[in-house]
């Protein structure tokens, strides 16, 4: 028998899953859009290899896999951002969350893993399947690589979640959360390696990217999947992700505590 708190987490995660499972047509429409973008991004990035064999650790085949895998990952790690918590702070609904016997961030994290599981199955697999069937995207053949990839994905969701928490919590200090969110989105899409592999960046820009937590959200799992990171460096990569996840989650708990101390809920 699991302890009560873990059973609560699982129950919340299940609800997080069901919330998205309620709209199958929306999922299909989203997957369609992901696939169209995959076709276009694949054509553009493949054109780079007309006169070149490889860029960094990426050759044409790895780049195709990169494109279809990132199209599958973008919903799992919520590339386009998320502002539910910020809105709850702004409307004062956060007061209700504070009464509950579970910390709001923990509850949100549990729901996040439910959401991510749904997105993995229904938004992650379709683009990758199209890539494999129609464009020879390559799946890892080694079970250990799959294991490392899924571990990396679980951590990527945690890092992305913690980052979203941090900019959502800004709502405790400013009512203008949209500006913060747009800025966060821009930085995240570029430096996570989602738009273009970080290996393609000029060295100085790649150095900036690797100094941030963003590659841990997309580039790290993708590099493991395509084999650009292999052997012992995989463990280093996973440890890096874990460190970012823990540090940023701790920061969001701290920020939350600070924020609630100055929270003013209007009316009553």
């Amino acid at each position: 028998m699991l302890p009560l708190s873990l059973r609560t987490d699982l129950e919340i995660a299940r609800r997080g899953y069901q919330r998205y499972a309620a709209y199958p047509l929306a999922t299909a429409a989203g997957a369609f859009t992901n696939i169209i973008f995959g076709l276009m991004r694949g054509s553009v990035l493949l054109a780079l290899f007309a006169d070149r064999q490889r860029i960094g650790a990426y050759d044409a085949a790895a780049t195709i896999t990169y494109v279809w895998l990132t199209q599958g990952l973008l919903n799992i790690v919520a590339i386009w951002g998320w502002q539910e918590l910020a809105l709850r702070v702004r409307t004062g609904d956060i007061a209700t969350d504070l009464i509950r016997p579970i910390h709001p961030i923990r509850a949100l994290l549990a729901a996040e893993y439910g959401r991510a599981t749904y997105q993995l199955v229904f938004r992650g697999i379709p683009p990758v399947a199209v890539g494999v069937v129609a464009f020879h995207a390559a799946l890892p053949s080694d079970a250990l690589v799959w294991l490392a990839f899924f571990a990396s994905l679980v951590l990527a969701v945690a890092v992305s979640f913690a980052f979203r928490m941090l900019y959502n919590l800004a709502a405790f200090w400013t009512t203008d959360t949209r500006g913060t969110m747009i800025l966060a989105l821009v930085v995240m899409t570029v430096f996570s390696g989602f738009t273009i592999p970080i290996q393609f960046f000029p060295p100085w820009l790649a150095a900036i990217a690797y100094a941030t937590p963003f590659p841990a959200m997309v580039q790290t799992p993708v590099d493991i999947f395509v084999g650009a990171t292999a052997g012992p460096p995989v463990l280093v990569a996973l440890a890096g992700q874990l460190a970012w996840a823990l540090a940023m989650l701790a920061a969001s708990y701290g920020l939350f505590a600070l924020g609630t101390r100055r929270l003013v809920v209007q009316g009553g």
């Binding site: 076709l39 276009m40 054509s43 054109a47 800025l183 989105l185 821009v186 960046f201």
Partner: protein, 270 residues
């Protein structure tokens, strides 16, 4: 004709009211516009990174691709400004509030287009203008009246093409509100497609997204003319001048689809 000028006057009044409302919050407005400017640079940054690795992409140089990017970006920014809020209309269908539009004495599309107007979206146009300046400064274009006229004409005809695509594809919401994201594949997808030379796309993708959905007429064909560049795919030269005609045709298709959609509309029960 009197009806049209009446509509235009009403459009001006409603949009002016939205403008005044948004300028009340200057800091928010400035932050949002800057954000939009930055968003428009994400894709250009990707293009810069691509050209840091290769001197040419599918036979196009960086300034040439920058020209495609700028025309598409400018066109898309103005379209987004004028009708981007159409993306919110599926919500009206979901709550049955589309009924309200049907009983008012103006067209439904007109009412939706005047319902909002986010000036911050101009931020995207500023980014595209900067890239246009870069492209024009680095290209050796043989300017003659024809090329200047083309440069002036492509943005309005491109806006009409993009707007028609937007209207026609968002109509899917009349049949299924949940499926509305499909339209993003054509609107935002069209913006992505148009930023790059279409000869790098696979034949079927090109046929479907560049000719059937006429994105190639927004930037690609007009840019071939401005650059005096032979078409890598070898399509006929007259296509370079066809954008205004395509724009007119797209308008007819979009308004027909919209009318069919409205006729199909079933209010939310209750």
């Amino acid at each position: 004709m009197a009806e049209l000028s009446d509509l235009l006057a009403l459009y001006r009044r409603l949009i002016a009211a939205r403008l005044r409302a948004q300028l009340q919050y200057r800091t928010s407005f400035a932050l949002d516009s800057t954000g939009m400017l930055l968003i428009s640079f994400i894709d250009f940054l990707a293009i810069l990174v691509i050209f840091a690795n290769v001197p040419q992409l599918a036979g196009w140089t960086l300034p040439e691709v920058a020209l495609l990017f700028a025309i598409t970006g400018l066109t898309f920014a103005f379209t987004d400004l004028a009708i981007g809020h159409l993306d919110l209309f599926p919500q009206l269908i979901r709550d049955g509030n589309f009924d309200l539009l049907l009983i008012r004495p103006r067209g439904t599309l007109f009412q939706l287009l005047t319902a909002d107007f986010q000036v911050r979206r101009l931020g995207k146009a500023i980014g595209a203008l900067a890239v246009l300046a870069y492209a024009l400064a680095n290209l050796r274009i043989d300017w003659d009246p024809g090329r200047i006229a083309m440069l002036l004409f492509i943005v309005p005809s491109g806006v009409v093409i993009f707007a028609s695509i937007w209207v026609a594809t968002i109509c899917i919401a009349f049949w299924s509100v949940d499926a509305r994201e499909v339209s993003n594949a054509f609107t935002y997808g069209g913006q992505f497609l148009g930023q790059f030379p279409i000869n790098l796309y696979d034949r079927w993708l090109r046929r479907f997204l560049a000719y059937v959905v006429p994105i190639a007429f927004v930037a690609y064909f007009p840019a071939l003319y401005i650059l005096d560049k032979p078409d890598p795919i070898g399509l006929p030269e007259w296509l370079r001048f066809a954008s205004p005609l395509v724009a007119v045709a797209a308008t007819f298709v979009a308004s027909a689809v919209w009318r069919i959609g409205v006729r199909h509309y079933q209010s939310a029960g209750g």
